[in-house]
């Protein structure tokens, strides 16, 4: 194991997103704050409570999750894809780094950015409505697992993508729709049949609800089930990513 290499790659990735913090950290904070303004301050008073809590509080976990999923996915996918396009992936490929070091470093950096963004979004929510965290340990563990899952997914997409269009397609056509349909703005119980059942096929529903349990002690699904779904997702994406990186697919000719 090349520990120095792993630490350097991790530090490099953190340094990279810190250098463009306006884009990587501040930007999601602004967009999420706009959601709070619209759904909380402007429309909040006209919306009834959901699951016994004010609507503005109800949407916070989903918005935190949306920001975290995007941050972790974009951190790995954009970094690796840009390195592929400008040729600097060579710096990593010629180094004595195995698939383990490669994946752990990228996942850890993405998780750090994701946690940072998630924490900032939550702080904004706190400022708006003074809410707390119902289950801190669960929230932290759950956040880390979801971040790592989408960071691994980002690595896979970056390796597969051959043009920027491919890279943009995933957040635009997969992540954002699935997140919006994953109960960020509504409870599954509010959906008519069969959409309430169909919604349960969406893995992001379990992530949004797991976060909602962690922050608000409310959820459409049991916290154990949410944790189980995320565990399976994490294990699957990391194993597939490990196989792909170790095989050198689209990285080594």
């Amino acid at each position: 194991m090349n520990w120095i290499g792993l630490g350097t790659l991790l530090a490099k990735e953190v340094h990279r997103f810190s250098k463009v913090a306006l884009q990587t950290v501040v930007s999601p904070l602004i967009s999420t704050s706009l959601y709070f303004l619209v759904f909380g301050v402007a429309l909040g008073a006209r919306l009834r409570e959901v699951q016994g809590i004010p609507y503005i509080e109800f949407v916070v976990p989903g918005l935190v999750m949306l920001a975290m999923i995007n941050a972790s996915f974009l951190n790995t996918s954009s970094s690796i894809f840009q390195a592929k396009i400008n040729g600097t992936i060579l710096d990593i490929l010629v180094a004595p780094l195995g698939a383990r070091e490669f994946i752990v470093a990228f996942l850890a950096a993405a998780a750090l950015r994701s946690l940072l963004v998630g924490a900032l979004v939550f702080i904004v929510a706190f400022i708006f409505n003074g809410m707390g965290v119902a289950h801190p340990l669960y929230t932290l563990l759950f956040s880390l697992m979801v971040s790592a899952t989408f960071a691994a997914f980002g690595i896979l997409v970056a390796i597969w993508a051959e043009k920027y269009d491919h890279l943009a397609a995933v957040p635009n056509f997969v992540l954002t729709p699935l997140t919006f349909l994953g109960g960020v703005f509504y409870s599954v119980e509010m959906l008519p049949h069969p959409w309430d059942t169909v919604s349960r096929l969406n893995p992001i529903l379990y992530m949004v609800n797991g976060m909602r349990y962690g922050l608000l002690d409310r959820s459409d699904v049991s916290p154990g089930v949410a944790l189980g779904v995320v565990s399976v997702g994490l294990l699957t994406t990391v194993l597939v990513t490990w196989r792909v990186v170790a095989s050198g697919y689209k990285l080594r000719t």
Partner: protein, 316 residues
């Protein structure tokens, strides 16, 4: 590093890209401390061989050892021993030259050593731009940064893939000087180039590759002396209507008072000069000798099959 092991040992290396055979059954042993030039036209397979050694390409068959370690099984060891200067200028716009060197050092598994980083920045005349955005550097500076990055972890085997392609004369001479210094310090250097003068000036041994096959590996000096031939050109004080007798076959008149006679041995040269002087003291004499370029062009003109495949030791 295994004691006494060759810096690089390639056995029966083949690499296919679909139907294209980029490298075909190549054997090569590189000696400790030598500068080896791999010559060949574009697409001959030079970069593919380097990529296979550095782990950027996966061989279809064959084995590669770096200082006795297998490049697939012991990749962590072999990559630590290698340095690679790529053909293309690549740079990460996020980082300054100093940051880039520090990062590369860490990726290679070496503890942070800012002294080494600063030493390289000075050696490659990048010191004044050490904290500038890399994208703002000139092409020559970016090329020098690439060489510095390849050296930051003190590799024992350095690959320079077309290091002077598109660089100005001054930088080319600077890079040659760096290579000489590294070789003197014991680093083994393999360079690919299609500038023959580069190989002639730098290399201890030369390998010529064409259509993925290594067609020749030989000491530069022995290659030159084995193929030593040339021509004597003499400007005479008198006009001639035909070349004098007793000169080697192929002698011709360039003009009525200029003789051009081919030579193959020192005795030929003496004989040509003796005959020419009998016609009067020449106003000008020049003796031209075959250059590596001539040998290279001749070899590539011949079909690889007629040359046969080079095997370790055949020509040594």
């Amino acid at each position: 590093m295994k004691a006494g092991a060759a810096p690089l040992l390639i056995e029966r290396l083949s690499k296919r890209f679909g139907d294209i055979e980029a490298v075909a059954d190549v054997d090569l042993r590189i000696r400790q401390g030598e500068v080896f030039a791999l010559l060949g036209p574009n697409g001959a397979g030079k970069t593919t061989i380097i990529n296979c050694v550095a782990g950027l390409s996966r061989p279809t068959s064959g084995s590669i050892q770096v200082f006795g370690h297998d490049t697939v099984r012991d990749f962590r060891v072999t990559r630590r021993l290698l340095g690679l200067v790529p053909q293309e200028i690549v740079f990460d716009p996020f980082f300054t030259p100093r940051e880039s060197l520090r990062i590369q050092m860490g990726l290679m598994g070496v503890k942070p050593d800012l002294g080494r980083v600063d030493e390289l920045l000075r050696m490659f005349a990048l010191w004044s731009r050490r904290d500038s955005a890399t994208r703002s550097l000139s092409g020559g500076m970016k090329r020098r940064l690439l060489v510095a990055k390849a050296l930051v972890h003190r590799p024992r085997l350095l690959f320079l893939d077309e290091p002077t392609a598109g660089v100005d004369v001054e930088l080319r001479k600077d890079l040659w000087e760096v290579v000489r210094r590294l070789a003197a310090e014991g680093t083994t250097v393999i360079l690919t180039t299609h500038y023959i003068e580069e190989a002639e000036a730098m290399a201890d041994r030369v390998g010529i590759i064409n259509h993925g096959r290594l067609v020749l590996v030989e000491e530069r000096d022995s290659l030159l002396s084995r193929n030593r031939r040339g021509q004597v050109r003499a400007v005479l004080p008198v006009a001639l209507s035909a070349p004098p007798a007793h000169l080697p076959p192929g002698t011709r008149l360039e003009s009525e008072n200029v003789i051009v006679a081919p030579w193959a041995t020192a005795r030929d040269i003496e004989e040509i000069l003796r005959v020419v002087r009998q016609l009067g003291e020449p106003e000008e004499i020049s003796i031209q000798q075959t250059r590596l370029e001539d040998i290279y062009v001749d070899l590539l003109k011949a079909a690889p099959d007629s040359l046969g495949r080079h095997r370790e030791g055949e020509s040594e």
